[in-house]
Amino acid sequence: MSQSGLPPLTGAVRDLAHEVVSALRGGGHLAGSTALADDELGLAAVRVLGADVLLPATLAGYSLSPERVAAFRTATLAFPAAPGAAPVTAWSHWGMRRALRTLSGPDEDPALPDTGEPGASWLHSLPWQRFTHQLAVLGALALPGLPSEVATTAALRPVDLARGFVRAVRRRDWLQAAGAARWLALLDGVPDTLGLDTGLDFVLLMSDDDPRVALQAHAARHIRDERLLDEGLRA
């Protein structure tokens, strides 16, 4: 079902994001068992949301139906990053391939061979505003236990990301703010004065129930809760 007043792809992406958020919040049984739309628009929406379509499994450990994983694989095959594509496009496709491998086991999928990481040199010299924007677009890569050159670069600049988060909030760019918050939830060295938890609450409150914002924000909370739990167990 598309949402009225929105471009078809935007509506399809929001619908899909809403499913994922419902699964994350409700125990995984909703989105985990329903099939993904296998028409052009549905597959394109999967490509836009990327690896986050599988977030109930990759972040929360819920099981997904084989049909859902198969449709995700089809979208990954259908929309590869073209030669010369923007780095974020290449990286989001890399994230989809990695997510599939995480769920499917170590055997290589012959249709999706491991071609390595796309490279993250473009990130290194970006000013903090653009750096935050690019990382927010790649929020799907902010996952515990998913090492990448993007994550390594992010870990070097937590204060820049914190500044970018504040800037995004003050510009009312809720999606960027939530994506940045997801990275901040994952990183060490984030200033305590940032108030990430209350900032996330504020982003959710102000974003008018945008499911893409909710997806990033709930992922951030999940990552942060797990980190706090781990730290508590170690203490």
């Binding site: 052009e40 003050r170 305590d192 940032l194 209350t198 900032g199």
Partner: protein, 63 residues
């Protein structure tokens, strides 16, 4: 169910959606908050007040 090969071919050839723009979006137009909104945000934000509040007014030089 669908034929994987046919779906991949059809989607790759026929889709007319500007997917690249969705995958690599430009930064959204933003509006910076005014002082009153920032003050409200600072109250809500608790510990975030320092970073979320507007720049501190500086005294103007006299004479």
């Amino acid at each position: 169910m669908f034929s994987e090969e046919s779906v991949v071919r059809d989607v790759a050839q026929d889709i007319d959606i500007d997917l690249e723009a969705a995958l690599n979006p430009a930064e959204a137009e933003g509006t910076f908050r005014d002082t009153r909104e920032c003050a409200a945000l600072a109250l809500i934000g608790g510990q975030g007040a320092l970073l979320l509040s507007p720049p501190t007014p500086r005294p103007t030089k006299k004479g």
